[in-house]
């Protein structure tokens, strides 16, 4: 290594390995042992992984997790894109609308939990009152699993759709005016213009939005934890809640480590799948 620049990377590499590589290796190591606090670890090979994959609660959490992420993407991406399209492109309202949209993004996760707990309290919250008023009946997130589920979805949509809006808005602003002029000259309808000019030009912004929202929603923790602690029953027990319950609450570190690794690879695998699909969809064709 003649290049002295490498030496300057050393501190960063050291921090990286301490903060990411070593813990990861530790987890991989743990996953092959039976580890309980207070007793010596015992090597058991792949047994933890087999246990995880045979655990009904794990499989249910995973199913719930996938469903949740699908719902989040199906709601937040079109909604965010629609809002971005509706925002003014120039003028004095641009700044105001962006600031207003950005507000939820600036709120720390624990405050989000508090806000929504107050919102949804059955005695004085606005949400139950509204549901009552429209004739839905008694809303109660801590008793009714459907109510809890959709409240978590609503929390996430409220919290993170603005991110999708901002990404799409930035993408929209980057499309040169000339494309829209040409589309007008070519007699394109509003829908054709959207379909053949706007949407393809937004592809990269949308891919980014989908990946960010997928990864984040797939790891959702704070919202269900703060709202109902994963309940009622296990109805909002997502993978992250399940994992921490097993590893920390259940003191079964080896099992928890195996869950973490499976979890980790699922995130990577699904992200890669989404990315590959979206990169190949809607390429140029004549039909």
């Amino acid at each position: 290594m003649k290049n002295r620049a490498w030496w300057f990377l050393l501190p960063a590499l050291a921090v990286m390995s301490l903060s990411a590589f070593i813990p990861l290796m530790t987890v991989i190591n743990y996953a092959q042992y039976s580890v309980f606090p207070g007793s010596a670890p015992q090597f058991i090979g792949m047994e933890n992984f087999a246990d995880v994959l045979n655990d009904g609660v794990f499989l249910n959490s995973l199913r719930r997790q996938v469903l949740f992420s699908i719902e989040i993407l199906l709601i937040e991406i079109p909604l965010g894109l629609g809002l971005a399209l509706a925002l003014p492109k120039k003028g004095k309202w641009v700044g105001w609308s962006l600031v207003l949209l950005g507000v939820p993004l600036l709120i720390p996760w624990n405050v989000v939990g508090i806000i929504w707990r107050v919102f949804t309290r059955s005695d004085l919250g606005a949400v139950p009152a509204i549901f009552n008023w429209i004739g839905y009946g008694a809303y109660n997130a801590s008793l009714n699993s459907g109510d809890a589920w959709w409240t978590v979805v609503a929390m996430d949509v409220w919290h993170w759709t603005p991110l999708v809006v901002l990404l799409c808005y930035a993408g929209l602003q980057a499309i040169p005016e000339e494309f829209y002029r040409a589309a007008k000259i070519d007699g394109a309808s509003a829908w054709s213009t959207f379909r053949y000019v706007t949407l393809p030009k937004l592809r990269h912004s949308l891919i980014l939005a989908v990946l960010l929202r997928f990864m984040d929603s797939f790891k959702i923790y704070a919202e269900p934890f703060q709202l109902t602690g994963g309940g009622p029953g296990n109805s909002t027990t997502f993978l992250s809640i399940y994992t921490s319950r097993k590893a920390i609450g259940g003191f079964n570190m080896g099992f928890g480590a195996a869950v973490s690794i499976i979890y980790f690879f699922l995130v990577i695998l699904i992200s890669w799948l989404l990315y590959t699909i979206m990169m190949n969809v809607g390429g140029g064709s004549s039909q």
Binding site: F179, R181, A182, K184, A188, Y196, V197, G284, S285, S286
Partner: protein, 367 residues
Amino acid sequence: MSIIDLQNITHVYQSGGEKTVAVNDVSLTLAEGTSNALIGPSGCGKTTLLNIISGLLTPTEGKVLIDGKDVTELPPQGRDIAQVFQFPVVYDSMDVYGNLAFPLRNRGAPEEEIDERVQVTAELLGLEDRLHVNPANFGPEWSQLVSLGRGIIRHDTTALLFDEPMTDVDPGRKLTLRRRISQAQKRLEVTSLYVTHDQHEALTFAEKAAVMKDGEIVQYGSPEELYERPVSTFVGNFIGSPGMNFIDCEFAGEDLKIGKFTIPINESMRDNLDSSWTGLELGVRPNLVNVYDEPEGGGEIPAKVTLTEHLGSYQIITLEMEDIGTVVKAELPLEEKTDVGSEKFIGLTPENIMLFHNGEAIENGKK
């Protein structure tokens, strides 16, 4: 194939509190099937005028007529005008075939007709081999052909507008693209308007050219007219490379005086002049400046060669007339000996000069 008629078009941009008059009372008629150019320096309002013709902009004042029909308020879709923009636009969500078919699909044309039109258009523009290629990675010259193709694929295109289409094209490829454009225009006999700030481009493409300055069209005529009879010093200077030479002069009742030198003029010109005038200028094209090695005895002005430039088949020399403190450019055959520093004599003859008063041409026989 239509007549485009602009009547007293004015366009004012308003951004914030600031007003820019981009086009000022322009009237212009483009005859059916003719190729026209619009030339003028950057920022003079060419793009604005073009967008008004195609319907992308509605003028602040004035009317646009196509074949006598008032289309001022009509959107582009209602005008069937093709426009090729300065920066090439291709839809990279479709291949070349899809790009060409796009305007027809937007009108719901049957696929059979679309296919036929795509083949014909592709052949005309030399795009046949690229129909199923995505144009995303095309260079500007191919992209411009695709966007031209989208314009002419409709068989009822009323007019073809080009907005400096060569801006992004490599110098080496300009000729090919220009030839293709020109060929397509001739074959289709469609009324066209080609915007450029490059007069060479304009004059090779067009039968007639309009010269624009500060939002106004100062002259509209054939390339010969613009070259031989510019209406103002601006046009004289803008058309031709190098432009017309201008020399301050005075009218001395009989002849012109440039310093102590006397230049004879025609009888008919004399009638149009007034000896009280100031701001009189003599204009002469570089190719009409007579350059002699020895005085010919007719009031030639001595001058020293300060620069010679060889340009292929001729040379341009710069001569400094020290007695008057003015520089003149002359176009000469390559054989002529024109060493820098050598003494020459400049002859200005009545039939070769034009006169301008306060920048406006004084026409022979007309005041």
